[in-house]
Structures are given as C-alpha cells and as structure tokens.
Symmetry: C2
DNA sequence: CTGAAAGCGCTTACAG
DNA sequence: CTGAAAGCGCTTACAG
C-alpha cells in the first residue's frame, strides 16, 4: 500500500498543502467548498497525518512518559492506569519505562525520551532517578517533569505524594475511635515512609493524651510478608500490652496476621490489625482494614499538572499531599470484650 | 538553552552534516581525525540526535506499542514488565495503551500509533481489539502485529498464548498423582479459557481411565471471588463425592476457600484446591497450589518475534502455546486420610 | 574518505 | 480565504 501524504491530498483536491493542513488541523478558516473537497480527498486516499513530521516543526509530539521503579508493583500499576486514562482523555499517548533501580536504565530513558521529543515526563522519585541527572537533563530541554508517589519529593518540580503523616494519624484515630489505647506499630527500617506514618500515629495518640510507648514500635529490615511475621515475634517478646497493631503495609500485615494466628491470638477478636496501601488487603483472612492511598488520584493529578506545565503554566512548583482514607474491613474491632494481656 | 542540531556540530567541527551523521550512526567509514573533531564538537555542544527527524527519513522510530484490556490487571502488568524489559534490551521504547473493552479507544490507538510511526505492536487479543479493524489497519501500513495472552488467537498473525489445555491436564495430573479420583471443576460461563482448561482436566482424567462426572463441573457467571464462593455452594448441593477442586483462577479459588471454610470443610485436610494464574495465590491461607502461566515468557517472546518481523522475518505466522507449570503450595494434599462424603 | 544537494511529511509566516 | 516558499533536523544516494 502506498501511503498518502499531504501532497497527494492537495493534488487530488486541487488545492495547496497549506489548505489541506488548515483543514486537517482546523487551524485557519477555509471556505466550505474547499474544505469539502479536501475532506473527500482525505477519505478517498485514506490519508493520515504524520505526527512525526508535524512534530519536527511544532515541537509537540503529543506523547508523555511515565517512569517507575517496577511496573508489576500493583501500586504503580494502578498509578499507571490513571496516567494512561488521563493522558488519553487529553489526546496524549504514554511511554512506560521501568528503571528497576538501575542507573544505566535511567540514563537510557533520559537520552531516549529527549531524542523522541516527549512533551513531558512523570516519574516516580526513586533513588536511581533522583541520583541521576535525568531531571536536570529533561529541564535543559524544557521538558516539564513531575514527581509522583513514593514519599520522596524534590523542591524544584511539582510532586504528588500521598500524605503519609496524615495516613498514620488516620489509622491511629480509627483505632482510637474503636476504643484502643495501646497501639503497636510495625514498620521497615530505613523507610522514610515508615517514619512519616509512625509520626502520624504518635501525633494522633498525643492528641488523645496517650503517651506513645516506645516498646510498641518495632522496625525490621525489609517489608515483605516474612518481615511482618518477624516483627510480630519481636513485638510479642516485648511483653508489653497492646490491643491493636498498625502495620506498615498490606504485605507485612499479612505476615503479621499469620504470626498472630500461629501464636493463638485471633484477629480481630483479641487483636485489631490495620495496614496501609490497599493492595492485597482484600484477599487476606480476615480481610484487612487498611488506609487507602490515592493511587488513582496520584496519577491523574500528576498528569493534569504535567499537561498544564506543557501548556505554559509557570507557577512555582508545589508539593501536593493527597489525602488517604480508611477502608474498614474485618481485621479491626473494639477491644472492649477481650484483649491481650 | 539552545538545542544543538547536526548542523551546529558540523559547523563547529568544520565538516559536513553528512560526516556528522556518519559518525553518529556509525554508518560509514570516517577518518580518525574527522571522527575525533566531530566527537569533540558533540561533547562541547551537548548534541543529541533527534530521533523524530531521523525517523522521517528512515521510517524507524525504535518504538513499540503494547495494547492491553486493563493495565492494572496483575497478569498483564507482569506481561508488560517483560515487554518493557525485552524492548529496552533491544534498544526500543514502548507505548502502553489500555483499551478497557472500549472500541473508541481501540480506534484512538489505531490512528495514533500509525501517526506516531511505531515500528510494531503487541496486543492482547481482547474482543474490542479483534472486532475492530486495528490489526488490518496496522498491517496496511506494514506495521507488524503480534497477539499475546488471552486464549484467543488469530490465524494471520503470530500469537503467543499459554497452553490452557495443557494447564488443565497438568492440574488434574497433579491431583491424580496425589491420589485424587473425584475431581470437581469450577469455572466461568462463556469463558473460552474455562473450556480449554476443563478439556485438559477431562483429558487427564480419561487417560487415567476415570470417567469425568458432569455433576462435578460447575460454571457460573463472572470470575471474581464471590463467583467462586457461589460455585462452591452449587457444587455442594450437587451432593456428589469429590476430594479435590480445580478452580478457574486464583481469585475464584479464594472465594472457594472461604466457602469451604464456612461449610466446615478444611483445606487441604478434607479437600484439595488448585487454581490457575499465580496472581494472588501466595497470599491466601492456605496458600494455593496453582498452575503458573508463563506471563514473562509471553511478553518476552512476543516482543522477540515482533522485532524479528520488524527486521524482515516473513515466515508464516504461527501460534505459540507456551507451557505452564505447577507451583505446589499448601492447598493440596493426598486424600488418603479423610475426604468429603 | 568527504560534501553538496535532495528529500522525508509537515506547518507557518508572508504575500496576495 | 488561498498558495508558494522556507524550514523543522535528519539521511542517503551521488559525485568527487
């Protein structure tokens, strides 16, 4: 098949290419008769605009890129979904790049995205990204960048993160509302998010005039299921009283649930467990009450801001902390009846 | 910042743009002194090749697209991961498009991907895609297409699917090996995959001289957790004997697990349960034994074939059924001790 | 080995 | 309202 160009259309319609361009892009007034003839020629030839050739002149490709540390992570997959949706709704297409903590890959995307002329990039501010020169390089080419998800932020670009401190407060307030007073926290060492969420918990406790008990904070290496189980073991040997535990994420909470069951503490009868993220929390037994991150909003608002920047928005960059919400399920309950002593 | 073009580099190095092009693409021999000067000019100017301008002439953008019905589905997320990995390893970038069963979106991507000049597209053969003219349109522009995942295939393009019939056989053989004879199947109505997997189960049964009992096949609408529970209820009222159940997917199996527990049938002590896909099967209690789909291979091999097509491979299109494998966990056990009567 | 020139498919001042 | 022309940043015959 021979691919029709704007010139072919012009010839068939008996007009100039400028006129064809004007009707295709609706960029200038064109008289009805000519418009008609052009349209017919387009149909007849099956003409399609070549966006690449167009971009050469306009510097706009109508493409965006989204960079994540790992695509298959359900959290990012959900953000990606919102990114694609929002981009599509605004007539943009999106490249996905997974960086996997690999600086070389970050550099590959840095070079490639510039070479491909993307109009903007949304990126998770993972360490590999932040420690490379991706962002300044993009900015040197006047390609807007916005950061998203993760708790890390950067001062010189717009960032959309979930409010981890607020999430911690929310979790604790929920438990407090149920009547819990002795609330443990299990988290991951070296995780900024753990810190923030725990600070939120402490804040809520303080507001209820409860002195946070340091022996009720357990942090372990890693943030997988086994790490959650391990944290629970450590918690139990502390021998402090508690009626509820806040787990850093769903997966650790799953491990915690198993550990409690193994030790004969039934959830939620004797102990309440609450987690964060809402990834697998609907699949555990009991189903976990969790603090839901605004994954969809993160992607949607991130893209919206990116598009605004592309359109010329030059207001100062801001950090946007999006609110979380409690999704109550089966793992939490009032401690009135019985509790662990 | 002023963006350096090939002309700027040529000027600074005192050579022609043809020479710069030759060294950048390593497409022609260039004398060492000139190469040197060009390299220096490139460094000094921070020159980067504009792939769009290049593509205008070469018709190659080094981009691929991957179309899925839903990005956030963990199954496709995993395929996407392999797609991105393989593309990157071969110096390609990838657009992701989610079609969501929406024909209009399929058409958007059809037009856009052509306009953007992608070199090839990998697509899940969901109904929206197959019922649109996406594939013929792409082919008219000589853009190679390969189909992936899902059980649907098309005769005129390369397809990579997991071997559902084989997966069913595998599941049944595994149960048979454990000593089970009365094996139930719960699946989804109107699912071609259900049919294939069940056929595989029957085949394995027949090979062991076991007559498949039709009352042990339950199909329901939908394929979510609640549907799995419902299927189990229906199965129980059949009042037929069985010691194991094969569930169409992990999520239905989760529902089945709950239903069995509610009815007082403990898994795996009284009943074995096996599922397919390995999405959430590691998170259930007991952890589900499952038949793992070659999600990563699907993506990796699909892209590899696509690249071969781009490079000119014109062998006849083929359907590739990739083998599955059993991942044994806690939900299956020999029925010798006790079983449901 | 090197370069001048044409051309890839568009858009947009500019002139009419 | 319409069109001729220049130019976006590259590559590749072609000639030397």
């Amino acid at each position: 098949m021979i691919i029709a160009t704007i010139r072919d259309v012009a010839k068939r319609a008996g007009v100039s290419v400028a006129t064809v361009s004007a009707v295709v892009n609706n960029s200038k007034p064109v008289s009805e008769p000519l418009r008609q003839r052009v349209q017919e020629a387009i149909e007849a030839l099956g003409y399609r605009q070549n966006l690449l050739a167009r971009a050469l002149y306009t510097k706009r490709t109508m493409t965006l890129a989204f960079l994540v540390p790992s695509i298959e992570n359900p959290f990012f997959a959900e953000v990606l979904r919102a990114v694609e949706e929002t981009a599509h709704a605004n007539n943009y297409s999106v490249f996905v790049g997974s960086t996997n903590g690999d600086r070389a890959k970050v550099e590959f995307y840095r070079d490639r995205l510039i070479a491909l002329g993307v109009d903007g990039v949304l990126t998770v501010l993972s360490w590999d990204v932040v420690s490379s020169d991706l962002i300044p390089a993009l900015q040197a080419y006047e390609i807007p960048v916005v950061g998203v998800a993760g708790s890390r932020t950067l001062p010189n670009i717009d960032c959309f993160v979930s409010d981890d401190f607020g999430a911690g407060e929310q979790a604790a307030r929920y438990l407090l509302g149920l009547g819990h007073r002795q609330i443990a926290f299990i988290g991951s060492k070296d995780s900024q998010t753990t810190v923030l969420r725990y600070e939120g918990v402490k804040s809520a406790l303080s507001k209820s005039d409860i002195e946070p008990d340091p022996s009720l904070l357990i942090t372990v290496d890693g943030y997988e299921e086994a790490d959650g189980s391990r944290a629970v073991s450590e918690l139990i040997v502390q021998n402090s009283e508690f009626t509820a535990v806040v787990a850093f994420n769903d997966v650790m909470a799953l491990g915690a649930l198993s550990a409690f069951e193994d030790q004969g503490f039934s959830v939620p009868e004797r102990l309440s467990v609450i987690s964060f993220d809402d990834t697998i929390s609907g699949y555990t037994r009991p189903r976990l009450t969790t603090v839901v991150c605004p994954k969809h909003d993160l992607g949607a608002k991130g893209v919206a801001k990116l598009l605004a920047r592309i359109e010329g928005d030059d207001s100062p960059p801001q950090i946007h902390k999006l609110p979380t919400r409690i999704l109550a399920r089966e793992s939490t309950r009032s401690p009135w009846v019985a509790h662990y002593v």
